[in-house]
Symmetry: C2
Subunit: 209 residues, 2 copies
DNA sequence: CGAGTTAGTCAACACGGTGTCGAGAGAACT
DNA sequence: AGTTCTCTCGACACCGTGTTGACTAACTCG
């Protein structure tokens, strides 16, 4: 209701920058990142193409800014995760994996665009890698703690196991998000992932007869 | 020594087509698929850019042809895999996974290019998916057989488990092939993957204290 | 208040890659 | 010798990117 006339005429630079981000994320809901042209992003934000370059150096830079927000959330979540696994390890892992699943699906459009672009764009690649690394670090620490307290059997290098499991999650969720085949049955992703994690961290092979 | 003069002047169409394929795979050893221009592929094959279009409709079509050859090998390997798991399941799985690892690393350049391109190219995507499906089918069949004979515990839907494990392999090997971080320690990929597979297929969680 | 600075804007341009068209060269068949 | 078929490429139209330089509107400080 308030703030009408005054700042009138031109929206501020921040508004414009934000408009570009919003337009991009909106277009990404239904379109391939590659198929977006800078002209579309500019038009969507109510500016001309050259003006777009005043705000961002490229399409990829916009995606990077979008991804950066998502990554922040990821880092907050990792920091907030409990390291308390003693009472009920399976449930604790489920909560951790659920955090990852949630971040991925809350920002499905940004996540899938980032996955598609990372192979050609170093910044996007690095930003996502950093995020994955924070998950892997957390996972490796917990696995080691579980082994130390005797809850999990000693096995392969904990960090390698942590990396494999996290890469599996990434790939399985990407396949689910983009509706690929093969993929895990829709809706069952979390159950399946938790099962593989728990079995490969705690599971032992019974001695055959 | 033989076949000198006669067929001289112009190389045949098949030679040219093959030259394009060879040039592309060679360039792919050291360069990003996206950074390759059609002009380079044409020049490398000793023809002009318009002539390139006589042989292939696009860069992607070349990659598709390259990938198709790899896929054939994959299918042959899947068909040749033994379904004999009773004597030594862990070794049998290791052989199966090794087949996948080998195909992936023998054709590292083509595989990584295909992974990078699949998100924007339906044909490449479908071809790779079909290949993954054949691995998943094989895996799911074996898991079910192992459960039926009582060697593996009944657990989550075998096909979902098979899909997750195969997607993990794909992602772990891609990370290894492109030197990403996080990745599994170089050289340890096969050991780590086999461990996760065997534990998640056969592993049981000991009842805690 | 008015001169200077800063932020923002865009028409016009240069460039590089893609894909097409149409003319033609050479082998091959008749 | 003529016709056809395969193959070849110069030249062109097109599209998306990124840059330049001139312009305008608002802020600010003497």
């Amino acid at each position: 209701m308030a703030e009408r006339s005054r700042r009138a005429s031109r929206p501020s630079g921040d508004d414009r920058q934000e408009a570009i981000l919003i337009t991009t994320e909106a277009l990404l809901q239904s379109r391939d990142f590659d198929s977006l042209s800078i002209d579309e992003l500019a038009k969507g934000a109510g500016i001309s193409r050259p003006t777009f370059y005043f705000y961002f150096a490229s399409k990829e830079a916009v995606l990077l800014a979008l991804l950066d927000r998502v990554i922040r959330q990821v880092e907050d979540r990792v920091a907030a995760l409990s390291r308390e696994f003693e009472a009920d390890p399976a449930s604790a892992w489920r909560r951790s994996i659920a955090a990852f699943v949630e971040v991925f699906s809350e920002h499905r459009a940004v996540a899938t665009a980032a996955m598609a672009v990372r192979s050609r764009n170093a910044e996007v690649h690095d930003l996502w890698s950093r995020s994955m690394l924070s998950w892997v670090d957390y996972t490796a620490e917990v696995i080691e703690a579980e082994r130390t307290r005797g809850a999990a059997p000693i096995g392969i290098h904990a960090r390698d196991l942590a990396a494999s499991l996290n890469l599996m999650n990434e790939r399985v969720l990407l396949a689910a998000a983009t509706g690929e085949h093969p993929a895990v049955t829709a809706g069952a992703e979390l159950d399946v992932l938790v099962d593989v994690w728990v079995r490969s961290i705690y599971g032992v092979i019974p001695v055959s007869n």
